[in-house]
């Protein structure tokens, strides 16, 4: 599950142990209550009773145990593996209690279980060869990868007063203009990632509502630190100084974004480090570092699969870099296959990430040494130590210092080039009622499938 479409479907079909509300508070989900002991190293969750899977089976602690073991087993390639690496033991205690033991305290462990969209609960013994089976509000009835999924309201969903649609159809529409057209013509009710340049136009359509939600979603160019030419720190420093970030915010994202500084913790986070100097467009500096690389040109691979503005952003980078004497060749590739054939394969490509609710989750997912999605192949022992320290630190001031040091390492040396953090920009028909954007993930972090409904009358 790497794409927004996959994530949207996971919210329809599955539940997790906890959930995050729009203020990023942890709320009960399949777990009704929880407590920690031993300096947040031991976490006990009491499970909701009477929850039914789509196959009719009643959920027990055995299913939860199985679901977590899938991510943690030795040969697992789960992107959640780095998040769960601190878990040394998962055990049931009767049919309705599950207990996690960590090798080091984590005060925000319940946040992880609510946020990580891979940590869905499936029935014991389920494999990928089996029909998709969860406890979620909708039951999958049709799925054609790359085209469309259809899910029907699950009659025995444990929340009887939620999930109001009879059917949810989900389709991926890679092209942003095509997506917007499908919305305007009434073929689609809600779309994510609208082109910010069309937002003002769409606002004039009385049948549509625009949802702009500040988030920590970061758009980036990933430079892999384990191979040439991006393993040269001079290359990375040259590029980071070669674009006017505010220009990208104002002219490509039309102000629906805030400038970034090459570390993925966003300025609204309590753990944001204000002391790190902002890297600015500086043609002299960029030229200075570029000269040291000895290169005559560099190739950037790009597709709008990476993020909805990836091509436009890269064209601006190319222009601004040219003024620094840097020749960037853009290699535009098809959207299909971008994640399997380009991302984490080529030295330099575009990418984009959804927000994550804590600094720990943001820094761990793509920058911890052995993270499955360590897209820049950057590995720093001190950084990994700091992640562990931050997790168990309960004093906010001390924790902020820890993250400041970690973000400084990334800012100075890392392969992540983050020009800005973008708002989530979504548009929906006014038929869709009671929808609210969430700073966590698009589609209201899945709450749309619980809370919203369609009304053609009002």
């Amino acid at each position: 599950m790497t794409s927004g479409t996959d994530i949207a479907r996971s919210f329809q079909v599955y539940n997790r142990l906890t959930a995050l509300d729009r203020s990023i508070n942890v709320v009960p989900n399949l777990a009704v209550e929880w407590e920690s002991a031993n300096d947040a190293q031991e976490w006990t969750f009491k499970l909701r009773e009477g929850v039914e899977f789509h196959n009719g089976k009643t959920m027990t602690a055995q299913d939860v145990l199985y679901s977590f073991e899938m991510h943690m087993k030795e040969d697992s390639e789960s992107p959640s593996k780095p998040y769960l690496s601190a878990v040394t033991d998962v055990a049931t205690d009767g049919p309705n209690v599950i207990r996690f033991t960590l090798n080091s305290g984590n005060a925000d462990f319940p946040v992880l279980l609510g946020y990580d969209y891979h940590l869905d609960i499936v029935p014991e013994g389920w494999t990928e060869a089996d029909p998709v089976t969860g406890t979620g509000p909708y039951r999958l009835t049709e799925f054609t990868p790359g085209l469309m999924s259809v899910a029907e309201r699950f009659g025995n969903y444990w929340k009887s007063d939620a999930a109001h649609f009879a059917v949810v159809e989900t389709q991926g529409i890679a092209d942003s203009a095509a997506r917007t057209n499908a919305l305007r013509s009434g073929e689609i009710d809600i779309v994510n990632a609208i082109d910010p340049r069309t937002a003002d136009l769409l606002k004039q359509d009385t049948g549509l509502a625009i949802y702009s939600t500040p988030s920590g979603a970061w758009f980036n160019w990933a430079m892999m630190c384990d191979r040439a030419p991006t393993n040269d720190i001079n290359f990375r420093k040259a590029m980071k100084h070669a674009v006017d970030r505010q220009y990208l915010v104002d002219n490509v994202r039309m102000g629906y974004a805030v400038v970034g500084n090459d570390f993925p913790v966003n300025p609204a986070s309590p753990d944001y480090c204000h002391e790190i100097p902002q890297t600015a467009y500086d043609p002299d500096k960029a030229a200075f570092y570029w000269k040291k690389t000895g290169l005559s040109s560099a190739t950037l691979v790009v597709s709008n699969a990476a993020n909805s503005s990836a091509v436009d952003l890269s064209v601006v980078l190319q222009e601004h870099a040219r003024a620094c004497g840097i020749n960037i060749e853009l290699n535009r590739v098809p959207d299909d296959g971008y994640w399997s054939d380009v991302w984490m394969k080529v030295p330099w490509c575009a990418d984009g990430w959804s927000s994550r609710p804590t600094a720990d989750l943001v820094l761990t997912i793509a920058h911890q040494c052995d993270a499955t999605w360590n897209e820049t192949a950057w590995c720093n022992e001190r950084f990994d130590e700091l992640l562990i320290m931050g997790r168990k630190e309960t004093d906010p001031a001390r924790r902020k210092e820890i993250y400041c040091e970690a973000c400084t390492l990334l800012h100075d040396d890392g392969g992540d080039f983050i020009p800005f953090f973008s708002n989530y920009l979504e548009a929906a028909s006014t038929r869709v009622k009671n929808y609210h954007g969430s700073p966590v993930l698009e589609l209201g972090d899945g709450w749309i499938f619980e809370e919203a409904w369609l009304d053609d009358q009002a």
């Binding site: 085209l147 689609i188 409904w453």
Partner: protein, 73 residues
Amino acid sequence: MNERQFQWMIGQVKSGRMSRREFVGRAGALGVGVAAATTMLSSAGVAEEPVNGGTLRVGTEYSGPDETFTRHG
């Protein structure tokens, strides 16, 4: 519009004796459009009642043959 009549009708909706739909219908008969009637209700603090049914059609930004709905590995 007869303000007193609307206040009475809003009271009826709040106490559950009149549905939102009926309110909107009656407001229409009194020359008040759907949007204005809905606003009247929401500014009076009447929560909207969910409507069950229908097909929500979601279009998200990425699609490809490597979509992995069931990948949990």
